[in-house]
Symmetry: C2
Subunit: 211 residues, 2 copies
DNA sequence: TTAAAAACATGATAATTGTCAGTTTTCCCT
DNA sequence: AGGGAAAACTGACAATTATCATGTTTTTAA
């Protein structure tokens, strides 16, 4: 099965609706397939021993959830939870494993994809350890705009709770709130309820760079 | 070419000596092959915009350096620098690409390997963002013991400079030194020059867990 | 619609970590 | 072996971030 075939297979499946806040799979769960995101956004997070969730990445349309665990035949390392209403479809493990073993193109495509994910993860490690919370929050807004876009009024298309933002950048919710308020006060962003719009992109970049 | 064949090919190559401190390849460099570690340890690091190096991982015997970049045909994302004297051999890019395209087993083996690296990277992200510097340093010593072992006197077989330890856990060198001194004072470790031995494993685990 | 729950917000304070400015020790090199 | 450089160390202080306490607003669900 090639990637295209896999896509075709998944396209024939009726997508399942996953409501905001629902868990697709949990950390430590044995997966018997991969979930393909048709619509909506999922957070992939891990509970750290101190009881806080760290969001490792956000997955959107086209992403495959649980792919890594199925490949290594391990239990899920992360939880996948819907950030908003989602449509996902399920591709059973056997179909994946079969394709991997029988279709070199498929294996190489998946390999390239995972290799790219690994690069991104390495970059996140550097960001997490070398940037301040303030820099990371500024970067998070830029990331959200670049990857999920904005609505017609300029607000980030993906609205995260303050707690989720804190869990993305790895800080306390209160700290995130304070910094967001401060960005607003400085005119770097504007807010409408929990919706956020970037108001001064250049100044926000300066924060990321530590100016 | 199967993994075994690749191993055979690389075995026929005369390993090149890389001295402690020498660079195998630098961030941003175009790689025309992969370096296989025969002996010694390499640090894989990335310079963050603030001018500090973050060590993303340590690679030892059997590891392939630059593998990820060759697969995605991108420029190197990390620098590889010898932590002690090393022996490495070089496998040209073409051999890798050929095998990937023609031998499904090889592609799947590499895929599994990279998938495992990705899991580890995700775990590092969680550690970096949710643990204190103190916890991370305690964890680093345990990691070093588990992965590189000890000499006959119980000292960690891999000796890192204080600066390298700081760069592994993502903190200032002075902070690392202070915490290491404190561990010594509390009897969690003993030191002999820059060599470190774990003296109270249980207490060190308690530090990691935040007790 | 309204009560309860969750999310947001802010202040006060403590804890952690970074920075700067030195001194001492160790390591190398010729 | 001796001189110079790098690494290790220490103190004082500043900056960042976490924690706790509490009040307000928004969301959710019966």
């Amino acid at each position: 099965m090639s990637k295209e075939e896999l896509k075709r297979v998944s396209d024939t499946k009726t997508a399942k609706l996953v409501k905001k806040g629902e868990t697709i799979f949990g950390e430590g769960e044995k997966l018997n397939g991969v979930y393909c995101v048709r619509d909506g956004v999922s957070k992939l997070s891990k509970l750290s021993p101190n009881g806080k969730d760290q969001i490792v990445k956000l997955a959107t349309k086209g992403a495959l959830l649980g792919q890594r665990s199925v490949i290594t035949e391990e239990v899920a390392n992360l939880s996948a939870i819907a950030v908003n209403d989602m449509q996902v479809c399920f591709v059973p493990k056997d179909a994946i494993i079969d394709s991997l073993n029988n279709n070199p193109n498929f294996a190489v495509e998946v390999l390239r994809h995972i290799a790219h994910d690994l690069k991104e993860a390495d970059d996140v490690i550097v960001n997490m350890s070398q940037k301040t919370v303030r820099q990371r929050i500024a970067e998070a807004f830029i990331y959200l705009e670049e990857n999920f876009g904005t609505d017609r009024n300029g607000y980030l298309a993906l609205t995260l709770s303050r707690e989720d933002i804190a869990n993305v950048v790895g800080t306390a919710t209160e700290s995130a709130i304070r910094i967001i308020s401060n960005f607003k006060k400085l005119g770097l962003i504007k807010t409408n309820g929990k919706k956020v719009a970037i108001a001064d992109r250049k100044a926000l970049y300066d924060v990321v760079k530590g100016c």
